[in-house]
Symmetry: C2
Subunit: 395 residues, 2 copies
């Protein structure tokens, strides 16, 4: 009796549930400390202490009907102002409160901007490998996903194929940098070229092509990386941000959309996005958390903890003989399956009690995602298993 669209999801879902179940069974069999779960993107580092301090202060000292009450669907005016000012300070942009829409996480923000823009049949271009939920978000509005195949040399977007895949039906392009699942940060050179291609195609087709930048991992970068801020490179760029990783608040569902004045039809896009936020049932981003992140706008989790994890895991994998994409950001390594078969690699890893995710799940077979948002100690304990996995390939 469920809708046709949902039937396929329910069938797939039981496969994922089976995988989880297997993890539980393994933990029961071998002991939890002997199963090394690198499969989840759930932040392991604690929120900065400013978060609980802000929560307590706001909950005890501010007017409760204000803190927990309705506000404009776009969010509290002063919160949006603080977000705009923080971005302007950091990136030399020129946003005002009206350019910011507070959202229920980045997932909420992406749904809002897609609902705002997409007509049935409109094409949305994504670069493999990519977070598969994009497919579902686009399908929610009867859009059509167009995949650009991966450049497995650099895991930067494959711009030659990109240019070929843009058509008069292209309404949006989604990029995600630092990238899930590769951990790669798109270079400024990439962004400049990508923007050039988009501008040329807009002119060729006489259309508007919106570039949607999904940036939950913006703050999780290492070795002095500074991911370019896309609105500075392209007039039709919309940024979707989340505090899930920068402040370790993924359960709270708090983020924002940036919709610059330079967007084609900016006034209507901004107005429609606020309405989409309402009618999709979000109504507004959670109110207390809006006020908390505004107070902690420049706070960050301990990025060094993730860097230490990354370095240990990179070293471990390299010593064992594995290769992976340049791991400049996020908390993922994208490791090459020695014989090119990512599903077999996942299965062999499981024999060593290592849980990882096949790249096929990100539209990029031949690689596996290893998430290092785990404890440093777990990575240490897992070293012999990685060596044994390499040995099982005769490496």
């Amino acid at each position: 009796m469920i809708s046709e669209k949902m039937k396929g999801f329910v069938q797939n879902n039981s496969v994922i549930r089976a995988m989880f179940e297997e993890g539980r069974i393994m933990a029961a069999k071998f002991g939890e400390e002997n199963v090394y779960d690198f499969s989840l993107g759930n932040p392991s580092v604690e929120p900065p202490k400013e978060i609980s301090e802000a929560i307590v202060r706001i909950a005890t000292q501010e007017k409760p009907n204000f803190v927990h009450g309705y506000m404009s669907n776009s969010g509290y005016e002063d919160v949006r102002q603080k977000v705009a000012e923080s971005l302007n300070r950091r990136f030399g942009t020129d946003f005002a409160a009206k350019n910011i829409l507070m959202t229920v996480g980045a997932a909420g923000g992406l749904n809002v901007i897609l609902k705002t823009l997409i007509n049935p049949g409109d094409e949305v271009v994504v670069f493999a490998p990519y977070f598969v939920e994009y497919r579902n978000y686009v399908r929610n509005y009867d859009g059509v996903i167009v995949e650009v195949s991966p450049d497995t040399e650099t895991f930067q977007p494959n711009l030659e194929e990109f240019a070929e895949k843009l058509t008069p039906a292209t309404k949006a392009v989604i990029v995600n940098t630092p990238n899930n699942p590769t951990g790669v940060v798109y270079s400024e050179e990439t962004i400049v070229k990508l923007a050039d291609i988009l501008r040329a195609k807009e002119e060729e087709f006489g259309t508007s092509i919106y570039l949607i930048s999904d940036e939950p991992y913006r703050e999780l970068v290492y070795d002095g990386q500074e991911p370019p801020y896309l609105t500075k490179y392209y007039h039709n760029a919309v940024v979707g941000y989340s505090f899930s990783k920068s402040l370790s608040l993924p359960g709270e569902r708090i983020g924002y959309l940036v919709m610059p004045d330079t967007l084609d039809d900016a006034e209507n896009v901004i107005a429609a996005a606020a309405i989409a936020n309402r009618i999709l049932g979000f109504v507004n981003a959670p109110s207390l958390m809006q006020r908390v992140v505004a107070e902690c706008i420049d706070a960050k989790v301990d990025i060094e903890a993730y860097r230490r994890n990354r370095d240990l895991l990179c070293e471990t994998l390299a010593e064992a003989g594995f290769t992976c994409a340049k791991p400049d950001g996020a908390f993922y390594l994208f490791v090459k399956a020695p014989d090119g078969d990512d599903k077999a690699f996942t299965a062999k890893a499981k024999e060593q009690r290592l849980l990882i995710v096949p790249g096929s799940s990100f539209a990029c077979a031949g690689y596996c995602r290893v998430a290092y948002c785990v404890s440093y100690e777990m990575i240490q304990r897992s070293v012999p298993s990685w060596k044994a996995l390499a040995a099982s390939y005769g490496m």
Copy 2:
């Protein structure tokens, strides 16, 4: 460049914005204390003190990666268990954690269950007057709204017309009791008859017709009313609940769906709803607030404050000569426009600095909604204006 679906919304929205602007201009002109805004459904009574206590305790004493982290898309298992137990205690039901899905408010819950059930073209029946957002929620999934016209004698659902409007394409029926905008509580007699009709039509058509009960106002009832719990009357009933009014937390977006085992295709409905919650971009209900409402599951705002408001406003309106629907619940009165023209009534009210909402906005012309979730003092100050409004009709 925005989507076709959103264009109409943006046009309508500027009308609403103009209304708000007018309110602001009036406040500036006459002084804020001399403008009586009865137009908004924003709770005026403070959250119970247990809320801030729970927030502080959880934020300071529990593990932050647990409190603010990801959990299952359905919500924390223990929170769902507490919700189920509370319902079982109060209504003699027999729910388990698996029957509860924590949602981003009732608006989120309604979108989740509609996405779960509705195929394009499926019919969803609503009883006028009704909260107009239902139209938008149904349209999100390309469903078709079928309106049953109001019974302006009792403002109970018009069941004769209801039976005629059910067709083999009817997939769902939405009810809202206590009702926005009328404040009427559907009687047990109504619910029994409504369930009888649904069962008969299910059998006649060989279909499943889901009854979706939108219950943000369940706790806001007066004079010993006890709104029937719909799952006890009909096997295919789904309840959408929100803590927005019962705990005055509308900005926090926290509620739940109840999906009983008695539903046709229950297992798939429950599984699909959790997935819909994820792919619509909610992902999960805000995590800290899930834990807070679980701790405060039997707390309530001071309902007496709303009752006092209701009594004073009812008395004021009756003395002035106005009539309204039986005001047993929620925080609304649905007042008859003396000459049957609700838009003219709204305009004349504005001349007396009274802001109210025409019933046309709820698919029920000839009446206006007066929201009494305001301060008692504002109602007292507004008395002369109501009298002057009556006088302007020669009453």
